[in-house]
Amino acid sequence: MTSPRTRVLFALMAIVALLAALAAVACGGDDDDTGKQQADDGRQEFKLGDLTIVDPWVRTTTNNVTAAYMTIKSKGAADTLVSASSPIAGMVQLHEVITEGATSKMQEKPGGFPVPAKGSVELKPGGYHIMLMDLKQQPKEGEKVELTLKFEKAGEIKITAPVKKATGSSPDMDHNAHGSSSGMGGMASPTAGSGR
């Protein structure tokens, strides 16, 4: 007597589970794939052991200071960017921007920028940057700047970074900070963007 009913129930529950799983996949699916695609689509990458430096760039300037940005990924162990240098700068520091109430403060980051194991650290406006000071020449849009990055474990790598006015037209920061799960990626805006 009960068996046909339970069978119906189980069948329905199985469907429910399947639908839920599909919904979950549809939600979180984009992350890894887009990352790779973008990497193939003309992103600039430099590799050093387990580390990959992605899309470095240096900001144009009209005086003797500027900043360099990039994303540093590790597919293996954790590491730390401990220092950097550039032939165009007399002094280079690793800086963080801290905002307390109404004031933003830029200062040297003690110990450098940690790169998490199997993770990444993003150097971007409002957060971390490589501060280039006492510039011997002003980097102009379209030029390339040579940078040497020194990591605690992986050692040194020389990279070249294009000079740009800004990150580009895609402001990829989502300031609504929902945890870390589906962080950045150029696809963030379509839903939230009421840009008219």
């Binding site: 119906v8 529950m13 839920a20 919904a23 200071v65 109404a102 004031t103 200062q107 800004a166 609504n176």
Partner: protein
């Protein structure tokens, strides 16, 4: 009867199981936390900031009466410094890009003012050269240290302090956000780091056409 109840139960379970999935999916676009239906994306400041009545020096070395010169305009005011490699150029770039995309009729009702927190280094020439890389219409303001400090206090800010970086270099700790004064000379919204073109393109037409009145 019993069969019907099994079905009901199963359907209820199905509904319950699907709801969280649906919520999880739509989570990102549900941020309708705008005040009183005005749909502003900027951060609301209470009480609003009054536009200071100050006469400073502009990027051409001429006296600039802030109240008089910006009367009747939406005025975006930012206190920064040209040796700022990070936040200042990001704000200025985002504003300049948004302005290019705005309806020209809205655009012409907006003035952008960059006041320096580093008057020792930011001469009018330095300001002009810097601002011209973003938009030649941007206004740069400087003055004596005392004047610039008072100006910041009038805006509800701490006078900027320095962080020594060594070798004669220093960073200036300065305002974290851009203030948007509406035509009534008050700023009801500010735009911290991280807000960019999307927020400006949304808010600037509202600021110009509607202003920000208490409802």
């Amino acid at each position: 009867m019993p069969r019907f109840s099994w079905h009901t139960l199963a359907l209820a379970l199905a509904a319950v199981a699907l709801v969280p999935a649906a919520v999880a999916c739509s989570g990102d676009d549900g941020d309708d936390t705008s005040p009183g239906g005005a749909q502003y994306m900027g951060a609301i400041v209470t009480p609003p900031i009054e536009k200071p009545d100050a006469i400073l020096m502009d990027e051409n070395g001429k006296p600039f009466d802030l109240r008089k010169e910006t009367e009747g305009y939406v005025t975006l005011l930012y206190v920064g410094y040209t040796h700022c490699p990070d936040i200042c150029p990001t704000h200025l770039y985002e504003i300049s890009e948004a302005l290019k995309k705005l309806d020209p009729d809205v655009r012409k009702q907006i003035k952008v003012v960059f006041a320096t927190a580093d008057p020792e280094r930011d001469t009018p020439e330095q300001l002009k050269q810097y601002l011209d890389t973003f938009d030649p219409d941007f206004i740069g303001l400087t003055g004596t240290r005392d004047l610039m400090d008072k100006f910041q206090v009038a805006l509800g800010l701490q006078p900027a302090t320095r962080t020594d970086l060594g070798g004669g270099n220093y960073a200036v700790n300065h305002a974290a956000y851009v203030m948007a004064f509406t035509k009534d000379n008050y700023a009801y919204t500010v735009y911290p780091s991280g807000m960019g073109q999307k927020e400006w393109l949304n808010d600037l037409p509202l600021l110009v056409k509607k202003g920000f009145r208490k409802e």
